[in-house]
């Protein structure tokens, strides 16, 4: 099986589900094997599912403004679990209110995320990132 596996979900006590469903749909259409954990996911949920499914990417959404707090330490947990090759993506409304985007991006990159998106990052952008990072040919 050469299909690439993406584990995705909304982190923390966050119940915004619409974006999650849209991204799941778009990635499936683009030929990825998507494991959607849904809303209300802990860091452990992501790590466990990625380990069991041998995932290539963990895609984290955070919409309710507590992204920084919820995402801190996820990279370290991945390293601890032997998931050092897994790419980490994060996106949504990562921080409260409007803040300087470059600062926000830098902050999440420093936390170990390979790709950082905002509420304006479209599913097509995510697919482009995946293609670049996984250098895979997309079945469409």
């Amino acid at each position: 099986m050469n299909q690439k596996t993406i584990v995705m979900g909304v982190i923390g006590a966050d119940i915004h589900v619409v974006g999650n469903k849209i991204i799941e749909y778009a990635l499936r259409e683009a030929g990825f094997n998507v494991v959607n954990l849904g809303i209300f996911c802990s860091q452990e949920d992501f790590v466990n599912a990625a380990k069991e499914t041998n995932a290539d990417v963990i895609l984290v959404s955070s919409l309710y403004g507590h992204g920084e707090l919820d995402c801190k330490g996820l990279k370290e947990k991945c390293l601890e679990a032997g998931l050092n090759k897994v790419k980490l993506y994060v996106g949504g409304n990562l921080v409260v209110g409007k803040q300087n985007w470059e600062d926000v991006k830098a902050k999440f990159e420093a936390m170990g995320f390979d790709r950082v998106g905002s509420e304006t990052t479209m599913p097509d952008d995510i697919i482009k990132w995946l293609q670049e990072d996984l250098s895979c040919i997309i079945a469409k």
Binding site: F40, A49, K51, E52, T53
Partner: protein, 476 residues
């Protein structure tokens, strides 16, 4: 009389139940001490003789004779997976549903120490899982290799990542092991699939385990030793829930089986949230589910039950003084065949059984946890919501033979003081008055419609006994 004989080779007793297919009714049950260590047939003959005495008939002929068994330590199983909350948990669920006595489970790559410990446990079967389909291969392949290198020669059921089935088969075959490959217990993160493993384990039981345990000495007399006893109870529960032929089922149901060594709980229900504002998390739950509490037997573990609930609660429930309870229970734990005599002893025995039911059903049922989010409270459910279950049935010697089985069974009910446990709220309560659940699971193999018909006749409806003054503040 033209009878069908249904046999349970249990660890302490060999039980027999006779039913008449012609008349479509239960006839009688009897038991005698098991003799698995010498010759199982002795205990069986004694039980049949007791049956003859009860019926007052010299000659009994049996048209069909089938058996289940939990003798010689039960079906000792080890479950192996990758992540504890995912494939390990799925493998554990599969083993329990197959009627196993789970003696250990392991996660991630097996270490030298794990392997040593595993061999010392003397398993009858090993269930090897790991990785979703197309998921991780590294860990299950490693575990297959190290298991294959062991001297231990027990059947290995493989229910892991489909992508490495053939490689795993080769590893075990090359090492000369008995390997059976079946479907993955967790093909996707959100999909549990334990039925194929359950069936595979049953085949291994019939082909290998019955012989390994010496129970096949009964083969000349018994047509088939069909399954482990808990599997028979689960099948009876499934049948009662779903119905067969003309006989309607009772719908979503819970059965609690109180024993001297364990208390088992069976549910057949979806367990979906009953309220709208709940987020469901955790591994999906099987529609049919068995859990076993090895620390809640009312004899072997009576001291442990006392420690768990607190001796003062038992005193409050039974009216017996604290120091008398302590000495009585240490005696019962040593002499597990003891039966209560005085009124206070009977009360104590029933209090123990009620606590065992309470805790066992709590552990089986789902929980509702409250989280505070920026928007306010959010409820998250883990496990099965049993609040809307329609029927709760009590079985097991210590329950059905008790003076007040209803009191014991009421321990299964929802407790307003402890609302985070999603126990049944307003079910009808029934007692398995002749203690024939195992027999019904066996009869279901021959004639399911008759089996459920007889079981329905056997069940006695009782009215719920309200909680004791104070709620049972039992820890899980």
């Amino acid at each position: 009389m033209d009878l069908t004989l249904l046999i349970d080779f249990g660890s302490t007793y060999t039980k027999v139940t006779a039913i008449s297919e012609q008349k479509g009714c239960f006839v009688a049950t009897a038991k005698a001490p098991s003799t698995v260590n010498s010759d199982v047939m002795i205990g069986l003959s004694n039980a049949i003789n007791n049956l003859k005495d009860i019926l007052g008939e010299e000659n009994l002929s049996f048209r069909r004779r089938v058996a289940c068994s939990s003798a010689a330590g039960g079906l000792r199983m080890i479950a192996i997976g990758l992540v504890p909350t995912l494939t390990v948990e799925a493998a554990r669920k599969a083993a329990l549903n197959a009627g196993a006595k789970l003696i250990g489970s392991y996660a991630f790559k097996l270490t030298e120490e794990d392997l040593k410990e595993l061999c010392m446990q003397k398993p009858d079967i090993i269930l090897l899982a790991g990785g979703t389909d197309g998921g991780d291969e590294e860990v299950i392949l490693h575990n297959a290799k190290v298991l294959a290198s062991l001297e231990l020669n027990v059947p290995i059921v493989v229910a892991g990542n489909r992508a490495c089935k053939e490689r795993i088969r080769q590893i075990f075959i090359t090492a000369g092991k008995d390997v059976r490959i079946t479907e993955n217990v967790l093909p996707e993160i959100n999909r549990l699939n334990i039925q194929p493993a359950r069936e595979c384990i049953r085949e291994v039981f019939i082909e290998r385990i019955v012989h390994a345990k010496g129970i096949d000495k009964a083969k000349e007399f018994v047509e088939g030793i069909l399954m482990p006893t808990p599997e028979a109870v689960l099948r009876a529960t499934e049948l009662l829930a779903e119905g067969a032929g003309e006989e309607t089922g009772m719908g979503e149901i819970l059965v609690v089986d109180v024993g001297g060594a364990t208390t088992d709980v069976y549910t057949v229900c979806s367990g979906n949230p009953t309220r709208g504002d709940v987020i469901l998390k955790g591994l999906p739950e099987p529609y049919s589910k068995r859990t076993v509490e090895g620390d809640l037997g009312v004899r072997f573990n009576c001291l442990h039950i006392m420690e768990t609930v607190g001796v003062s609660l038992l005193s409050e429930m039974s009216g017996m003084k604290v120091d008398v309870i302590e000495s009585t229970l240490s005696l019962w734990a040593r002499k597990t065949y003891m039966v209560p005599k005085s009124e206070l002893e009977i009360n104590l025995d029933q209090a123990l059984a009620r606590c065992a039911v309470d805790i066992a059903v709590k552990r089986h049922s789902g929980t509702l946890e409250k989280y505070y989010t920026p928007m306010g409270e959010v409820f998250v459910q883990y496990g099965k919501d049993l609040t809307s279950i329609k029927a709760v049935v009590g079985t097991g010697g210590p329950l059905v033979n008790a003076q007040n089985p209803t009191y014991i069974l009421s321990g299964a009910l929802f407790d307003e003081h402890d609302p985070s446990y999603l126990k049944p709220k307003n079910p009808k309560l029934y007692i398995d008055k002749n203690y024939i659940f195992y027999a019904i699971g066996l009869l279901a193999e021959i004639n399911p419609e008759l089996a459920i018909h007889i079981l329905k006749q056997d069940l006695k409806q009782v009215s719920c006994e309200k909680m004791v003054d104070r709620s049972l503040m039992c820890r899980r």
